[in-house]
Homo-oligomer: 196 residues x 6
Amino acid sequence: MNKAVLKKILKVFLTLQWAKELPRQGFIALGFKRNEADSVAAHSWTTAMLTYFLASEMKKNGQKVDLNKAIKMALFHDMAETIVGDVGTFVKGMASGAFAGIEEEGLKWLVKDLPTTKEITSLVSEYTQRKTLEARLVKLADNLDALAQAKGVPAAKDALKYFKEVYHITKIPFHKTAVGMILKDEIEPERSWQKR
Amino acid sequence: MNKAVLKKILKVFLTLQWAKELPRQGFIALGFKRNEADSVAAHSWTTAMLTYFLASEMKKNGQKVDLNKAIKMALFHDMAETIVGDVGTFVKGMASGAFAGIEEEGLKWLVKDLPTTKEITSLVSEYTQRKTLEARLVKLADNLDALAQAKGVPAAKDALKYFKEVYHITKIPFHKTAVGMILKDEIEPERSWQKR
Amino acid sequence: MNKAVLKKILKVFLTLQWAKELPRQGFIALGFKRNEADSVAAHSWTTAMLTYFLASEMKKNGQKVDLNKAIKMALFHDMAETIVGDVGTFVKGMASGAFAGIEEEGLKWLVKDLPTTKEITSLVSEYTQRKTLEARLVKLADNLDALAQAKGVPAAKDALKYFKEVYHITKIPFHKTAVGMILKDEIEPERSWQKR
Amino acid sequence: MNKAVLKKILKVFLTLQWAKELPRQGFIALGFKRNEADSVAAHSWTTAMLTYFLASEMKKNGQKVDLNKAIKMALFHDMAETIVGDVGTFVKGMASGAFAGIEEEGLKWLVKDLPTTKEITSLVSEYTQRKTLEARLVKLADNLDALAQAKGVPAAKDALKYFKEVYHITKIPFHKTAVGMILKDEIEPERSWQKR
Amino acid sequence: MNKAVLKKILKVFLTLQWAKELPRQGFIALGFKRNEADSVAAHSWTTAMLTYFLASEMKKNGQKVDLNKAIKMALFHDMAETIVGDVGTFVKGMASGAFAGIEEEGLKWLVKDLPTTKEITSLVSEYTQRKTLEARLVKLADNLDALAQAKGVPAAKDALKYFKEVYHITKIPFHKTAVGMILKDEIEPERSWQKR
Amino acid sequence: MNKAVLKKILKVFLTLQWAKELPRQGFIALGFKRNEADSVAAHSWTTAMLTYFLASEMKKNGQKVDLNKAIKMALFHDMAETIVGDVGTFVKGMASGAFAGIEEEGLKWLVKDLPTTKEITSLVSEYTQRKTLEARLVKLADNLDALAQAKGVPAAKDALKYFKEVYHITKIPFHKTAVGMILKDEIEPERSWQKR
């Protein structure tokens, strides 16, 4: 591999290390302590994993979903936060036009020297627009991951209701089912082995 | 006290609690782990304390500095971050006009129902413009506090040089002296009692 | 500024950095984990902010309260803990005379070379005696801040009752109202923007 | 989506949440404090990101690498640790046959009810054998991520040498180049914007 | 003391430092955040303290219990985890024969150069077999300590039931009484001084 | 066991849980971040372990040391801190008579209802006086444990010198040897298995 390209790749890679330490700031506004919030990096992994599980099943059932595109979209969907931070919905809400632009510009800056700049910015843009099936699926996974994180933190109990508000955005029928099952404690993580 | 006013005050007060948990995000970009970064609240206290120490001495030496105004400015200087987060200099740099506006709007939103909305927004605005002696003094204290925090974290060693870059902004002669004394380890925190 | 004086100021300032990391120890006795307790520094900021909000309103309503004195008192009220630690009420209770003396001596030691030694020790002493309106107001703010912190930590649920016990100390009528409003969840931190 | 299948998927997803909190235990044996170690989840994301960057470039250069397979392999490579923990190389070394079997069994147990059990176990098995180009590339990314993490923690300085020992395993020519560039500080994460 | 022996002792001692940072991993599977789990070292101390309290009382009541042996057993009972980690019951359950062997081998490796290798391995082996009164008493203390830890973490509420499952293992009559008293909140830690 | 006695024992046991979360405060004055300081509980375990290793070897060499007494002394030596906190040497230095009394009273309060009140207070008192061989040995272990902790935290580099100052207190010949070996990096924790 060309040494100059390798260097550019490693530079972005070292920058992405910050995402391991950045708390997902929105959770702090829900009353989380600093260490109860997950990191941008950890959230991105569980989101990508759930996206993979769901897209695989959808494909199996004959739905036209591009599995590999969806996985990459999930991997990239929050990477701009490494640079611009997990700015609250507040800022986004206040000046949506202006701020959306800033986040977009942040991403461009971060990935500008990568061999795959175009693929990344294009997938994140697709995600932001929430139109394609893949974009809506990743949003669904992103939302369920926030719910899973919030469920474990008692301070967030009052805020669990907010997680129902994205139904209309994803328009994926099983989104509501999934939120319901998690909220009603119908699913328990694998613990059968603990009883042995 | 009127109950409705009390309620409005307590609402802002409960919102400010988040600042206890928000890491100063810029430090993470310098290589800090999440718990090596101080909180917005803790930083604001040490900044206000140093402002008080320095302004008292300046006043004693006959300089025209409004001590009480400076203390309040220090207390308020980062309070908007409770809402908009400690967004990196990056975002600020990219679209300074646009973003400055967002931070300002965030502050207004946060304090809009307080009896002292005007005093707060006016002091933060004065701070941002860096023109009055008080504004420059608080900036100096803000800068020395970041330096003190960074000195204790080895990962930040390479970044210590950045702390010299604000000399030209504060134009306070002893700013450079202070940075120099801290960087050269000429000052050690009170430890004489440990030798007993 | 005289270099020797600057050095003395910076020495105290560097010592105060410890307060960013010191957990408020009393919370651990209520069942908090280490990172659920706020720091002495962060607590001091929110206390000073609430003091400012309340004193401003009281003044507006014609009450004779020295706003600037109250703010400084709030800033200084726990600074001795940087040196002597947040020793439990236990120790204080056991040997109140003896220990009060130790805390006082700790403060003197810490600030002995500052240009404003006298103002600091005098304000802390006034605070400890809980007689003046400013002292009682700062105690009220100190108490509400502990309540706000405790409310977010489920382990402290059983201990919330203790926060009612200072009514008789502050003798400020709206103290009880404020505690009641916070305990009954009548106030929610600013979250309207999250619904957007 | 079939509700029973959705439930099975969500069960694994909720179990994977643990990986956000599990410290990479090997780092503690290098002298890291608990919060200096990254989580299994965060490590998996940065590893997948680097795998994507490198595989994309390799493909562009005409190498036969299956990009999508490599990304999935990176996502899955440590997921068994969610169940069996990040057991030290010690245990692995002592009874390699026996333990390898345990880790494999742990993975099977975790994913046994997923629609894609086979794909996951097959990719992890391929990764463990380190024979295909994709397996060696993911190992390389896994290794560089550990190096990036270790570089930021001074306690690990003495252990940086261990990171050179996997050259012979990956047999990818630029592995050595990359380790060298990171160790020699030839690459600095994106910070140009901080100078503005 | 012979310098070579001292060196061997200090080597094990420095290795044991890791136990201060290792979270008790099983708690994470119950939904704890990383910093809500206690460390292997801290758990070992409280277990040894409770063992001492209970064994002293039992002896006083005429039961034949070797107090000093019990204390040492409690001190050593989890020290192998410093090397092999706090591997979940899962792994232990899956391949009990195989894994038990690994843990045993880990301990031997860790203590192999100590003057007291034999005493340590023999006491840990006795503990594992749960036959002698001392072994069952230490298991009881180990279990109550996990219960005390879990009680303080709301996320573990659903898992409190698991703590009843070791009755049949210890066969110590007051085990059940103790679990009951703790679960029913009949005992509150020393707080009388807080009311002063 | 008598239920009333069991209840008293469990009350102290639940109170001791706080020691798992209390940072050793003195380290914060050396520049440690909150999570870089070990807990009072974890420190007590490693101190007891080292005491056991050393006393065993001394006994083997024919020295008259009461091994079981030494272990218990190590277990108890800091337990009063659960109540009075790890108050800085400062306070102790300032008013040694007065404060020593407070710590003693704190311990008495904590253990007053235990069946073994006398043994505990007597052993802690013996430790404080530093006269018997066991007391000096536990002090040595306490000191080496602080050194081991400090070595891993770069911020404490300048403070390592303080650890040499207790030679004259313990008067145990190998104390100096041990400090020297640790400071000079002559001993590395068990890592041979990492090279496999």
